[in-house]
């Protein structure tokens, strides 16, 4: 009789003591919890459920597709082949019973061996030391970097706040900041960072010459991350972080950074303009190319004109200036 364990070298895996057996079943949304329950009896560490979904609003939101099945996975350590066979046979039988109870059909039980890995550290390979523009270097805190004389190094702990440096919108803003610094526009400047996320832009601004930075974000997790990353870079005295948005009520600033999204830039245009002193510069980023005209128009209505633009892939960043006087 064929079964999910056919062809798997359970004895070898048990001898090597470094393998897990992955059990997987495609299940209708309604049956996901019942399937998870059955799999967790064989594999008590919990289950992962990958639902079908589609991205909407230019990828800024995800809508779960409940009409298509989700993939449920669970894992058991392979210690003894007999114990694994018995647990899997039991799970297979119980899954077979499910359809008798009015839940919609599910797929067959699948199984494969997964090698043990250093999961607590393996994710770190995705975060190399990154160079942005000419001088800026983003260094994940656990990595070393041999500093060149001109390097501006930003130490960062990626986590639950946007702004790891891996996304074009962040890199565009950093490159634009560097260009501002090259013209001396950041020397001694007061800077506002709206939607600070990880705090990467605030840290960049401070490192490139700003005298003080106010970082605001509506997300408390981002506020915490910005503050922690500022401390990590020994910039806690120059970067103040709090919950908030634009207008900040503490303006005007010489430079305002807004790496948001097009729709939010349009909504906040009044506040951003209010926070900017005459002659000051706004860096607006997070703009999908097909929304650029809307942002330009919204800023134009507040008297801001576009001085420069940067692009990477489908993304655009704009440098807008408020006329002096």
């Amino acid at each position: 009789m064929s079964g999910p364990l056919d062809g798997l070298d359970l004895a070898g895996a048990a001898a090597a003591k470094d393998a897990w057996l992955e059990l997987s079943v495609a299940a209708d949304h309604e049956a996901v919890e019942a399937v998870s329950e059955i799999l967790s009896r064989a594999a008590p560490g919990g289950t992962s459920v990958e639902p079908a979904f589609e991205l909407v609003e230019d990828g800024l939101a995800a809508r779960l597709d409940l009409a298509r099945p989700a993939l449920v996975r669970a894992y058991l350590p392979v210690r003894s082949p007999e114990a694994v066979r018995s647990a899997v046979a039991q799970a297979d039988r119980e899954l077979g019973h499910l359809q008798a109870f009015g839940l919609r059909p599910i797929g067959d039980l699948g199984a494969r061996l997964v090698r043990e890995a250093d999961w607590a550290n393996a994710w770190k390979v995705h975060f190399p030391v990154l160079r942005v523009g000419r001088r800026i270097v983003i260094r994940p805190t656990w990595r070393r970097h041999r500093r060149q004389p001109d390097d501006v190094v930003l130490a960062l702990d990626p986590g639950m706040a946007f702004g790891t440096g891996l996304h074009p919108t962040t890199r565009l803003c950093l490159a634009a900041l560097e260009a501002l610094a090259d013209r001396g526009a950041l020397d001694g400047a007061r800077v506002l960072d709206v939607g600070s996320g990880s705090g990467i832009l605030s840290i960049g601004a401070a490192r490139l010459g700003a005298a003080s930075v106010l970082a605001v974000d509506v997300d408390p997790i981002a506020v915490e991350a910005s503050a922690a990353n500022a401390r990590r870079n020994r910039l806690a005295r120059r970067i103040r972080v709090r919950e908030g948005s634009a207008p900040s009520g503490e303006g005007p600033f010489d430079v305002v950074l807004a790496n948001l999204i097009a729709s939010l830039l349009v909504t906040l245009a009044d506040g951003l303009a209010e926070d900017l002193r005459p002659g000051g510069t706004l860096l607006a980023s997070g703009i999908f190319a097909n929304r650029e005209a809307e942002v330009v128009a919204a800023l134009g209505r507040r008297g801001l004109s576009i001085a420069r633009r940067w692009t990477e892939g489908d993304w655009v960043a704009l440098e807008a200036v408020r006329p002096p006087g």
């Binding site: 949304h29 019942a34 329950e37 919990g46 992962s48 459920v49 607590a120 986590g159």
Partner: protein, 141 residues
């Protein structure tokens, strides 16, 4: 920030006891998110729910930052509690593991409504009843 989404997925984990071992490591590892920050944050948020299974719906963004929200406990967990049993029947067609009342099923359906793909509580109750029967839990009254 321009948080473009890479993927959404759910982990059903023991509250307060998540570790980087599977399913956490295998589900999140390929997306390169900070797994230790996830387990630490999940365990802090669920520390007062020890002994329950609390699903976390995780959104991973394109720059490998992420966020998550906690969902209602799975129906089997709630049914076991309502029936006062440790586990469901392993032969649900033959052996009855426990009993719940229709009122208890209604209460569970009401609690689960935000996460069920149904329009009203009656339809939600049908889903919960199906799950109950699949565990050998009889619905009475």
């Amino acid at each position: 920030m321009a948080k473009k989404i890479r993927i959404v997925l759910t982990l059903q984990l023991p509250a307060g006891k998540a570790t980087p071992a599977p399913p956490v490591g295998t589900a999140l590892g390929p997306h390169g998110i900070n797994i230790v920050e996830f387990t630490k944050s999940y365990n802090e948020k669920t520390a007062d729910k020890l002994g329950q299974v609390i699903p976390a719906q995780i959104t991973v963004f394109e720059d490998r930052s992420f966020t998550f929200v906690l969902k209602t406990p799975p129906a089997p967990d709630l049914l076991r509690k309502a029936a006062g049993i440790d586990k469901g029947s392993q032969t649900p067609k033959r052996a009855v593991a426990g009993r719940v009342t229709r009122d208890q099923v209604r209460a569970i359906a009401e609690q689960k409504m935000p996460d069920l793909n149904v329009n009203d509580v009656e339809a939600g109750m049908k889903v919960i009843e199906g799950t109950a029967r699949s565990m050998g839990i009889e619905v009475v009254g």
